[in-house]
């Protein structure tokens, strides 16, 4: 009788644990995928703002035409699809840089800056940037959790047999990490 119970535990125990670990790892992987798709949603929103941005700004900022043209091109490339991960990252970073540069240039055009269209656009753009930042941070947290699951004992045993590899973190652009406030700058 005792031997039977012992046998059940010795066989059933690892199976049960196996199931738990497996499900746990699937959970972590899914969190990563979910977070990645959230980022894509925000990126898409930002790309969708580009036509609006170009329209609002082009009448005023004649000197920025090159920037506007480039932004439109970047959007076209993105919409065309079929970009590799690296190309996608390049496009995203360029949009980052150009968008920020443009917004800062607006300081030179007080009429534009005060116009209702621009204010609405700025609100929408800033909102997307904040959401984007939050999504990136969530992705990195999910990746950390996932990598922990893959590398820490005892789930790493299961991970190996599932063939799971660690993911890389997303880099938060340096510009977003700076803490200088615009107020300080204009006070000078």
């Amino acid at each position: 009788m005792v031997a039977l119970i012992a046998a059940v535990i010795m066989i059933g125990g690892p199976i049960l644990l196996g199931i738990l670990f497996y499900n746990n790892l699937i959970n972590r992987k899914n969190s990563v995928d979910q977070a990645l798709s959230d980022i894509d949603v925000q990126l898409k929103k930002r790309f969708d703002l580009i036509p609006n941005l170009v329209e609002t700004v082009k009448a005023y900022m004649k000197h920025e035409r090159d920037t506007l043209v480039e932004l439109t091109e970047l959007r076209t490339r993105h919409m065309a699809g079929g970009l590799s991960v690296q190309e996608q990252a390049d496009v995203t970073n360029k949009v980052n840089r150009l968008g920020r540069g443009l917004m800062l240039q607006v300081e030179n055009y007080p009429d534009l800056k005060a116009s209702k269209n621009f204010l609405q656009l700025q609100a929408a753009w800033n909102e997307v940037e904040e959401q984007l930042s939050a999504s990136r941070r969530t992705y990195n947290a999910a990746v950390k959790d996932y990598n922990n699951g893959i590398e820490q004992f005892p789930t790493n045993i299961m991970a190996r047999s599932m063939g799971y590899q660690p993911h890389a973190y997303i880099e938060i652009p340096e510009e977003e990490r700076e803490n200088i406030s615009a107020k300080e700058m204009f006070a000078n």
Partner: protein, 350 residues
């Protein structure tokens, strides 16, 4: 530091000029009350002595009971005698101090934030069985509407013998304000008890906390040591808790040496400041003509009011400029100069 000194001077002259006259009147009344209370004290004391003399076989239990009854009677007398005094004190002194901070702020000495707000905030898992709010302050700073009050909430718990008794759920200041971001979910920040005692293991335990939303693990290590964050949406929690806001919350906690609980829900922010003292009450047995004691009322008010700025609630994203690097600004300046043929855009700005 300089700002603090100016503020103190402002208060000093305000104290001399406007508060002292009112305090002097109230002081006369306070002395009356104090002397009135001599009679019940003496009376109760005499009664006690009398009983001990007459009934020499009083056990410890009965004496204890008598002492408690005596204290209860005394408190009852004190409350009765000072009711009007408290009302006058709040209306004159507390209200004046508030108006000095901002003449448009409103004060109601005997109302508090509603129980709905308290329970709705999500900071406490249980609805209080007893709830009392006092010293309600309402106002706006720029575009942010806020209000706060003293709150005393209690719940019934069963002790080890299965008896029901009242336990303090929260005592302190409870603050509410409009949030400068839209929220669809709930994010709650609580003092991190587990991590303090158990470190990483504590984190694992926190993940299992079923009465709360999912644990949100944030990048700011110092913040994580002090607080535990629970949120019903991971992305929104980070959307609200930007790195800057986490730093601000930490700075506020360190400056005032307390650990608040904070929640974000329905595009509002709730802050619970647990301090177990009686706020905005007049002293009965000590003189009212004391600048430091009076200054304490002012400081307590600022403790809550300052939250609007400490949490940067007035920065609206809509007109906010992102954080630009020095390089980017240099480029912009250069281009500005090119466009205007040398005028630059430093110019004359307000």
């Amino acid at each position: 530091m300089e700002e603090e000194a100016l503020h103190t001077e402002g208060f000093d002259s305000f104290y001399e000029r406007e508060l002292l006259p009112a305090l002097r009147e109230l002081e006369a009344e306070r002395k009356n009350i104090q002397s009135t209370l001599i009679y019940p004290t003496v009376g109760l004391g005499a009664l006690a002595l009398g009983l001990i003399a007459v009934l020499p076989n009083l056990g410890i239990q009965s004496m204890f009971l008598a002492a408690i009854t005596g204290a209860g009677l005394f408190t009852w007398f004190k409350t009765k005698a000072s009711v009007e005094f408290r009302v006058e004190f709040k209306n004159q002194i507390i209200r004046q101090i508030l108006k000095h901070i901002n003449k448009d702020f409103r004060y109601s000495g005997f109302s508090g934030l509603k129980k709905n707000d308290f329970t709705g905030s999500g900071i406490w898992p249980r609805t209080p069985d007893r709830y009392r709010g006092e010293d309600l302050v309402t106002g706006e700073i720029d575009q942010t509407a806020f209000s706060f009050s003293e709150v005393f909430a209690q719940i019934y718990v069963k002790d080890s013998k299965g008896r029901r008794r009242l336990q303090t759920q929260f005592k302190g200041l409870f603050f509410k304000a409009d949030l400068n971001k839209e929220t669809q979910h709930r994010t709650v920040i609580l003092p991190d008890m587990a991590e303090r005692f158990l470190g990483n293991m504590g984190q694992q335990l926190q993940k299992l906390n079923i009465t709360r939303d999912d644990l949100v693990q944030l990048e700011n290590v110092d913040f994580e040591k002090v607080f535990a964050v629970y949120g019903s949406d991971q992305v929104e929690a980070r959307y609200i808790l930007s790195p800057k806001l986490m730093e601000r919350i930490l700075a506020y906690s360190e400056k005032h040496e307390l650990t608040p609980s904070i929640s974000f829900k329905n595009s509002q922010v709730f802050v619970a400041i647990p301090i177990s003292k009686e706020f905005f009450e007049p002293r009965i047995f000590r003189t009212l003509l004391n600048k430091e004691a009076t200054r304490e009322y002012y400081d307590d008010m600022q403790l809550a009011i300052s939250l609007v700025n400490e949490l940067d609630l007035n920065t609206r994203i809509w007109s906010k400029l992102p954080d630009y690097t020095e390089e980017e600004r240099e480029d912009a300046r250069r281009q500005g100069r090119n466009h205007r043929g040398g005028m630059g855009f430093g110019g004359t700005r307000k």
